[in-house]
Amino acid sequence: MTTMDPKKLKELEEAKRAWEEQCLKPALETFPERRKNFLTDIGLNIERLYTPLDLERVDFDYEKDLGFPGQFPYTRGISPTMYRSAPWIVRAYSGFGEPELCNKRYKKLVEWGVDEIVMAVDLPTQVGYDSDHLMARGEVGKVGVAIDTLRDMEILFEGIPLNKLKRVSMLGNSFGPIALSLFIALGERQGLRPEEFVVDLQNDILKEYVARGTYIFPIRPSVRVTTDVVGYCARHAPHWYPSTLCANHLNAAGAGSSKAAAFAMANGVCYLRHLVEKGYAVDDVAPLFCMFLDERSDFFVAICHFRAARRVWAKILKEKFHAMDPRSTALKITAYSHGGETLLEPINNIARITLAALAYVLGGVQFLYNASYDEVLGTPSEEAAKISIRIQQILAHELGITSTVDPLGGSYFIETLTTEIEREISEEFEKVEALGGAIAAIEKGYYLSAITEGANRRQKEFERGERVSIGVNKWRIETKPPYGAFRIDPMIETKQVERLSKVKRERNERRVKEALQYVREVAQGEGNLVPPSLEAVRAYATIGEICDVLRSVFGEYQAREYFSAKGS
């Protein structure tokens, strides 16, 4: 029920009809609209004009749907003061080459004022192969920095105490316990206890089976690997963020933001149920999750998407898990500002990234990182990385953008769209529940079919020119992509492999063997995988060695080998 007086509503309806007749109709004859429908990427149609009548249509109620920031259902934000107390955490996703080289870039990031460094690690590291593995050939240090052992972490963070940053992070999707252990052990080397710094991990394996692809083990043991990290932190470092539920990659792959968020929430619910089954109280583990949301196509949808997602999550936690702690129901949001960056005229990407970041800020983001304008060319250059950080600092400290909480709250458009998106996410989430939850939805191919359908639709829209990309399919001038990508020296692989063999020569081999045996025993049983992983990391066992033990216990995920798509 809306708060509007029925008599006033009736008058407004009549007034709108009169406006349409007297003002709109003649105008449309002279200035016809550019398109029949103004469709968003998620398929919602944007109306010409929004009025209180739309709020009535979606049954908007201030107290039920918005309330106050810091209170259920958190539409207006998760804290009562939001950016007036502190702007969001400025993150930098960075990593390339080998640790010594990358450390120089990290020192610059600190100098430029980032709050958090998110380590980009190379693909061999992400899938648990050491730099000297056959499958690592040609990939070492390419899309991120190569990490084989704790020694690499020590070099990477040389001169950067972990408590100098507000948070430190790594993705670690397929081997969360090892990623977490690397930070704990690095803290020990730097003389810091876990209470003195903050770690956040992506550690969300389920989405890897349908987008991104850095899985190692089969699905079920992987859920244990992911949730063991959350369980360990709940007991030993409850101020850390051990898992980030990712909608971003699902949307990037083609799901569309509403479905992507619904799938990410279903994945989160799968982890939560697993933890509850293991005996954790929901309010001990739910506050440790955050969510990586994404909407790159429509500015206002992005704002409303964040507001709507907070509402959906709060309701799931309250209704399905009976969470009592406000920290469980308040959804903390991570986002990555980008959208439609182009290879042609790459400087234009600065505008695209800035606007994406602004949308996320207006949507009430907690942890933000920006793409670099040259990312589409390869690893970001130093200048591009700096600009990405500066954009965030400008948004946070110039122009008064952060002076009030939820500045767009109450807009007829924003509130209508927020409610419509909330319904889309909820409905999609319930569909996944009805299929039997996240694992069933993955195994039945439900996620993948939604993703593939969306990816093909986007490509068609782009080719028909409906999805405009300035300088590419509209007002195109340049024909050839620019030269001068930032390059990774191929000698880096040799250097990293040499460092790895040196570490192996110098470490205490007996201690390594014992620690790996401890990993095996715990993996074969029901215990938490973090303590044995930590022992192994401390002994300078390599990520590959620890993963090999886990592979021998859990097996490896076998992706579908190939399929034939027969043309009609």
Binding site: V127, K142, V143, G254, G567
Partner: protein, 133 residues
Amino acid sequence: MRRKPRILIGKVGLDGHEVGARVVAKALADAGMEVIYTGLRQTPEMIVRTAIEEGVDLIGISILSGSHMTFFPEILRLLKAYQAEDIPFIAGGIIPAEDVERLKEMGVKEIFPPETPTSEIVRFVKGLLAERP
């Protein structure tokens, strides 16, 4: 009647981003070709062996990880070693312009950057296959 053209679309190395590969596979299938998609984490050896075993008319590799200068020359070398260099090899993904030129000199038939319409890829593939003896 001549059989439908058979195309192998593959992902080489550890790169897990497969949207591009899937979209191109679908576009080629829609254009009447039979497409075999290898899935992730293939080695050059696996790609070339599959291509020969399946008797494909063209190999298309998608790569976004920056490891193309390791894998592409290796694929070309293996094609030669297996006496299958008549199978044309095209690629797409994030590949710097200077590498594109070098790889084309080595024998990669074409490299499509991001933002390429799939219709352009379909046209190119059809043209290439029309030249077959």
